[in-house]
């Protein structure tokens, strides 16, 4: 894999800025006036108690929802109202809280499906499975095999993912997101429901992706140990509002965060 080389965005520049974003569904306010930024090549955690609006935030970033107020700027350009596939083509990949793999396809095909936008050969060659279509298939297969090696899932290459245990499915889903060579990778609870060993593996993969390829990662996670160890900066949401933002150390000591998680005596 190669890091997306974009000279304009060096490490540390603001890759994605969220400014005063609010999101409402009728009377329900999922997000209220949230602002934060994600810098190039950092691991940014979004944490908060259940129902705080973390997943809604990710949904806004990759185009599932459009904020009712405020704006999102990606790579210095204010985003127009866009569909998820446009966000994907712009370089945003994502994994889901509850695994959203293509169940009947093999691991290999799932990750190959992630390469769909990179494939160019036209319908005619696809019909004959020959010439450019086959050349492209092999080229992308090589890339996909690198991801399979990286995630250590060679043995399940041809297994339909529906039959895999949960931990491996999560790993395949990460592989599928990586195959898009994203600039910004959104991970929605990548370690939910995993045992310690699986969590350690997953943490290792996340760090390696970040360090080797400089991929910017936004992460939602409930395991505080993992969040504090992995992330460069943390933003804390509660009831759709931002209550803290800073390094793990700063956030850990913040009285409002402690209140949000442990409750406060009235």
């Amino acid at each position: 894999m190669r890091a997306p080389d974009n000279p304009v965005f060096a490490k540390g520049d603001v890759l994605l800025a969220v400014d005063n974003v609010s999101l409402g569904f009728g009377g329900v306010k999922a997000l209220t006036d949230v602002s934060f930024d994600i810098r190039k090549s950092e691991i940014r955690a979004i944490i908060g108690p259940n129902g705080a609006g973390k997943t809604s935030m990710l949904n806004c970033i990759n185009g599932f929802y459009y904020p009712t107020e405020g704006r999102i700027t990606f790579k210095g350009v204010k985003r127009p109202k866009m569909r998820p596939y446009e966000a994907a083509r712009g370089g945003i990949a994502r994994t889901f809280q509850n695994v959203a793999l293509f169940k009947s396809m093999s691991t290999l095909d799932n990750i190959m499906a992630g390469r769909s936008i990179k494939m160019r050969s036209n319908f005619f060659w696809q019909l004959f499975r020959h010439g450019p279509a086959m050349k492209e298939e092999v080229e992308h297969r090589r890339f996909v095999e690198e991801i399979i090696d990286f995630l250590e899932i060679q043995h399940i290459r041809k297994t339909p993912v529906g039959r895999l245990p949960y931990g491996l499915q999560k790993r395949v889903e990460l592989g599928r997101a990586l195959s898009m060579e994203p600039e910004l990778l959104l991970l929605d609870e990548p370690m939910a429901g995993m045992n310690l060993e699986e969590k350690e593996d997953m943490s290792r993969f996340i760090l390696e992706v970040n360090q080797q390829y400089g991929t910017t990662i936004a992460l939602i996670e409930h395991d505080m140990g993992v969040v504090m160890d992995l992330s460069d900066r943390v933003v804390v949401l509660e009831y759709g509002r931002k209550i803290a933002d800073g390094t793990p150390q700063e956030v850990k000591g913040d009285q409002r965060v402690i209140d949000a998680y442990l409750g406060v005596a009235h």
Binding site: F102, M105, A113, M119, L127, R129, R141
Partner: protein, 361 residues
Amino acid sequence: MLYREAGQFKTNYVADSAIFPLRQDRLGLGLIIVAAYALAFMGSDFLLQAVLIPFLVFSLASIGLNILTGYTGLLSLGTGAFMGVGAYACYKLMTAFPGVNVIVWIFVSGFFSAAIGALFGLPSLRIKGFYLAVATLAAQFFLQWCFIRIPWLVNYNVSGALEAPLRTLFGIPIVGATATPQTRYLVVLTIVIVLTWLASNLVHGRIGRMWIAIRDMDLAAELMGIRPLQTKLLAFAVSSYYCGVAGALLVFLWYGGAEYDVFNINQSFFILFMVIIGGLGSLIGSFFGAALIFILPIVLGIVLPAMMSPFGISVGADVIEHLRFMIVGALIIFFLIVEPHGLARLWQIGKQKLLVWPFPY
């Protein structure tokens, strides 16, 4: 013992991503194709005309619907109408331009069907499942209305029917009253083999993966950058193309002439049952489904009286007919209970068992 994976090593990605990775499978497929061609010279006219030609036509239509419903997960009840568009388009083209070979028009008529199919596929972006089925039902009724009410489609033929004019290939009649079942069978077989091969290429490549992605998890597919509307419309277009060609074959190479009611809602359901029983998302399943639903009743019609006669029981044709319906119905229910994923899955399980036979795993 002959069916083993052992010793067949893949040394490059092309070989590894082959559609039939096993040498025995390729050999078996070759044998089936050779046997299918041999049947043209050995089979009786009854076998060719009443069994094999319709079997191939229905298989092709099932492949069409399978691309839409099996691979892309979009339920359609408009198959009959899309077949009709192909048949009527073919009729208009071959009567308007008699100089061009009819084979060309059979392939071209599919494009008309594809365009109409894509048009009626537009609602699929917003609606799914049963609701989409109802929307395609609109296509079925509207197009059938067109077939009845627009006499231009049948060149103002007073009977309102499509009639196959005489058309030849290399001087041999292939369409029309004088074409023999043998030549017609060879033409249908060749067209079905070519189109099945193309479909198999499509579903095993990028486009097939996009279709399955939309079927399995459309939200995630969109996040992979797959455009839902284009992908679904492509599935509608390709599916309708296959149905259209099947419709043209049905009228001109099997029936020799037909009226609008060949393409009614029953035809749509007939094809849908073939796809469900054969196996959703499987090309070989389309052939199995067509065989079970179309050939089995014919076989029963021959076998049942023969089974009865040694016992001195002579039954009327009407009883045989009823028995046939009952047995086919019972078998359909049986297969759906035993293997809801269709005959194709049974076939796959059988092959896997054979690979490791005589050991259980």
